[in-house]
Amino acid sequence: MLVADNISKKFSGVTALDNVCLQLHEGKVNAIIGENGAGKSTLMKILSGVYTEYEGRIIYKGETVRFKNTKDAQSKGIAIIHQELNLVPHLSVAENIFLGSEVTTPIGLLDKKQMREATKELLNRLKLDVNPDTQIGKLKVGQQQVVEIAKALLHNAGVIIMDEPTSAIGDKEVKVLFDIIAGLKQEGKVIVYISHKLDELFAIADRYNVLRDGRFIESGEMKGISHDRLIQKMVGREIVFNSKRNLLGEAKVLLSVNNVSLNKDSERDKKLLKGISFTLNKGEVLGIFGLMGAGRTELLETIFGLHAKNATGSIIVDNKEYRFSSPSQAIREGIALVPEDRKKDGLVLGLDVKQNICITTLDRMQRMGVLDSGREASLAEMYIGRLHIKTSSAKQLAKNLSGGNQQKIVLAKWLATAPKVLMLDEPTRGIDIHAKTEIYKLISQLAGEGMGIIVVSSEMPEILAVADRILVMCEGIITAELSAEDATEDKLLIKAIPKTI
Amino acid sequence: KAGNGRGTHKKVAVIVSTLNNPWFVVLAQTAAAQARALGYDTKIFDSQNNTAVEADNFENAISAGYNAILFNPTDADGSVSNVLEAKAAGIPVFCMDREVNSVDAATSQILSDNYSGCVAIGKYFVEKLHKHGKYAELLGLVGDNNTWNRSKGFHSVVDFFPGLTMVAQQSADFDRNKAMEVMESILQAHPDIDAVFCGNDAMASGAYQALVAAGKANDVKVFGFDGAQDVIESIQNKKIVATGMQFPKVMAKTAANYAGEYFKGKRDFPKKMPVAVELVTQENVSDYTGYGKKD
């Protein structure tokens, strides 16, 4: 059993952890919950030897330990799945899984064969069907996260920390993971599980530990605690889950996508999208559900003009047809895309909040050809207020904000363009319940103002909560269209699962 | 096999230490032109001041079947092995301007004597400064042995006169711009110098520019070495005091002619044929043009 005793951690200025004490039990799934920025990851990084400077003690198996580095922690039997993917894009799956703990032959050369075999086994266990020699960079976010999990399972550690392991994977993979966690429980291992998806916690967690603003609030058995109580402990106040707003009177078609197809540029024959057609009404929230790899991201990207070379079909915005040639054109047509991976595609982490928010509308920020920092500041402040972005100032570097607030910046920069159509790809990935509800509110509010919104999500509750109409995608085609009323979880799932298995 | 092609098919390689400096461009182009005039195919190889590149040039020239090499070594010692390689392949090598330190490697060496040339300049320098004053010296590339031949020749005379004190000795890499900047800085430390001796004419021109900018053009005497076109003009215009005229054209022509005679069967060439460096001053400048004598 692993105990954190009075642990405190400061980053230049910010106090991330403040005298946190908590006990993590063997043979149990210990959930750690808290809002973005509560200090969950920081604590885990301390427990796994990433941060070696901290106050307080770690007590493991009855004795005080102080890890020199991650390898040290690993050798003592503590494995961690980090929140941010930590994989080397140009190395293969096998090479990544064994990175730092390679198997070598007696003469000190790498034993690739054995590592490949071991990897195959792991991947089978996780039901991930990719070649161990595939480059990580070629995998989708979801697939990469499964590889991260595999990496942690490699050395059968006594403590396994999972920091939002399911933030990027679909329900199918989640099921697999939960089976494995159950297995590990049987082996009496300490499992630490961090997630913002509460229903997951209710599914597998035995105990909960609540962190708020870097302080330990309380812990207890999951049994018998209610969804809302948990949220209240986390947030420190009640959260009213907004009810559906009523649609605008007449439905006016805003965007219509006709027979859009997209082939993978490497293999011309393989189609990522096959003859997609749908329409989006003014003031409507259209949800697109599908399992990982269904082609949703590609669809949004295509509409946004990112795959001009390989795409066919036509798109009509406000009765005006346009060729999806480039993002700048799409933006001119009033289309905006909040991408799936905010760190990779959404933000310039090295620029500050203000600069990130204004980047899409700099043409409006200049006076006599020169940028007017006044206008920029006011725009930034406006959105910081409107979206409740938690940041020390508009000049804070984007990289120093927590996930939820980063996502809000991306939203802000697109709202600033006053788009007609707003496309959101996994808008709440890795975002805490509080921020989530805020984003849901925002979505319906914007729709209320007449914006057309497309929400891609792998989380069924999310889709059901926000969408007026739901499209289900599977392997690049639309398999179903349902209205919010008669959509149910199993209806969606049936249509989402490929027939070919 | 070298030596047995017919006259018209003879090929002559001109391997020159560098083309980054007009002086060597003249040398190379004159040699090539003369050889061509004698009816041989010729090609110029640029060794880029790099003995390794020079070695490559030799190898390539040999395997490309050239019958003779007109050679301007990058380095007296460093180039010996290259010449020996050609000799082993039965190809005559005629050195121009710079020598290689080997008695029998080259068929003949037509040499410009930098050392004694600078001795002459040194003497004139002493005379012009009336045996005393402060002066600065601008060296060429520190890693180039001509830099030191010239410096040594100069000092072999000047150092005998206690009245002459060298207040600064800096390198300007044979480069005009570097010379100007170094000179500007030297003038800060020693505004009162009476003369500057430069290891080549490019540096002399650069130094003169610096003096003009500092308004000291008339107070400081500039001495160069090479006999470059623009410095000869400057001497005519009483800007620069003197330079050492080497005769690249003469040396190049001689080397090319030797090659021709070699093909015709002549073998007894003078091992060393020094071409004197002549002192060009404001008095006698009218006899000279860039890189040679008026004719």
């Binding site: 700048s328 595609d345 310039v348 982490l349 620029l351 500041a377 | 980054n20 007009p22 005009r176 430390a189």
Partner: protein, 328 residues
């Protein structure tokens, strides 16, 4: 410049400040060893001597901010200087129709600068159109432009360009040398571009995260071409200054300048991986190098030792930065 000092500005500010310390220490040391260093005329000397490097390095900074690099600046400088000098001296003669076109000083300068912009544009074109790594593209241009210079000058310096032209490099205006004016204007313009214009913001964005920049509707290729073109133009300006100062266009002018200017940029705290850095830093970097060269000569350090000392000082300067400012 305004509002609370935030992490970013604070960091930049600090880094700048750090180079300042290094520079300051350097100056103090030299002036302790030589009373000739801290004089007005010498100050102008140093300023004049670094003016060329500053012009080049400013362009280099913009390129490096986009995570690129430009090795061709030295050759472009030489070629453009030679073109201007050639046109000024000989004009253009068309042997076919025995037509002769003469050039005014202004005309020749403009021609040289246009040449620079075209060469830079070519760099940008190969880099964006064919995705050639900047290093290779500009390395190729380095050789090409050098070769063209040799062909244009036939290997001989073009000299005797006349009073009017040499005023550009040797003249004074309001008690300040003209080259210093020029580099000053370049620096101010570049600071405005980087801090106050869309172009500048886009440059940082591309260097920081090219993906995100593209998805924000920024035309990456357009910006990159612009940046390399600017670098070319500034190299040409440098070429004009050198040529006019020497009253001669040297075929081998500017050899190795690429390293000097990249050094100035990096010593100035700009990251070669792009997205982070400032013009001000680069100016300080150039100053450090310039003061160093000047000082070594003033102190008459033996040419043999100079390089060793120079290397050690540069290293020291950067280490001072890194150690004091704990920004990692």
């Amino acid at each position: 410049m305004d509002a609370a000092i935030t992490k970013l500005n604070y960091r930049q500010y600090l880094a700048r400040f750090q180079s300042l310390i290094a520079l300051f220490v350097l100056c103090v040391l030299i002036s302790l060893l030589s009373d000739k260093f801290l004089t007005v005329t010498n100050a102008w000397n140093v300023m004049r001597q670094i003016s060329v490097n500053i012009c080049i390095s400013v362009g280099m900074t913009l390129v490096v901010l986009t995570a690129g690099i430009d090795l061709s600046v030295g050759s472009i400088l030489a070629l453009c200087g030679a073109i201007t000098a050639g046109l000024l001296k000989n004009g253009i003669e068309l042997p076919s129709s025995n037509l002769y076109v003469g050039f005014t000083v202004l005309g020749a300068c403009v021609a040289g600068i246009i040449a620079g912009s075209l060469l830079g544009m070519f760099n940008g074109w190969t880099i964006t159109r064919f995705k050639v790594p900047p290093f290779v593209a500009t390395l190729a241009m380095l050789t090409i432009a050098r070769g063209l210079t040799m062909l244009w000058t036939k290997g001989f310096p073009i000299t005797g360009l006349g009073r009017k032209f040499s005023f550009l490099g040797t003249g004074w205006f309001l008690g300040i040398p003209l080259p210093v004016w020029i580099s000053g204007v370049v620096v101010v313009a570049a600071m405005i571009i980087t801090n106050k214009t869309r172009l500048g913001r886009y440059i940082y964005a591309i260097g920081g995260n090219e993906n995100a920049a593209r998805l924000s509707g920024i035309n990456i290729n357009y910006i990159k071409v612009a940046v390399y073109t600017i670098a070319g133009v500034l190299a040409a300006v440098g070429g004009l200054i050198i040529t006019s100062r020497l009253d001669a266009a040297q075929p081998n002018a500017g050899t190795g300048y690429e390293l000097d200017s990249i050094a100035a940029v990096v010593i100035g705290g700009t990251s070669l991986s792009g997205g982070r850095g400032s013009i001000m830093g680069t100016v300080l970097g150039a100053l450090i190098i310039g003061v160093l060269n000047n000082g070594l000569v003033l102190l008459n350090v033996s040419p043999f030792w100079q390089q060793v000392v120079k290397g050690l000082v540069i290293l020291a300067a950067v280490i001072v930065d890194k150690v004091n400012s704990k920004n990692e």
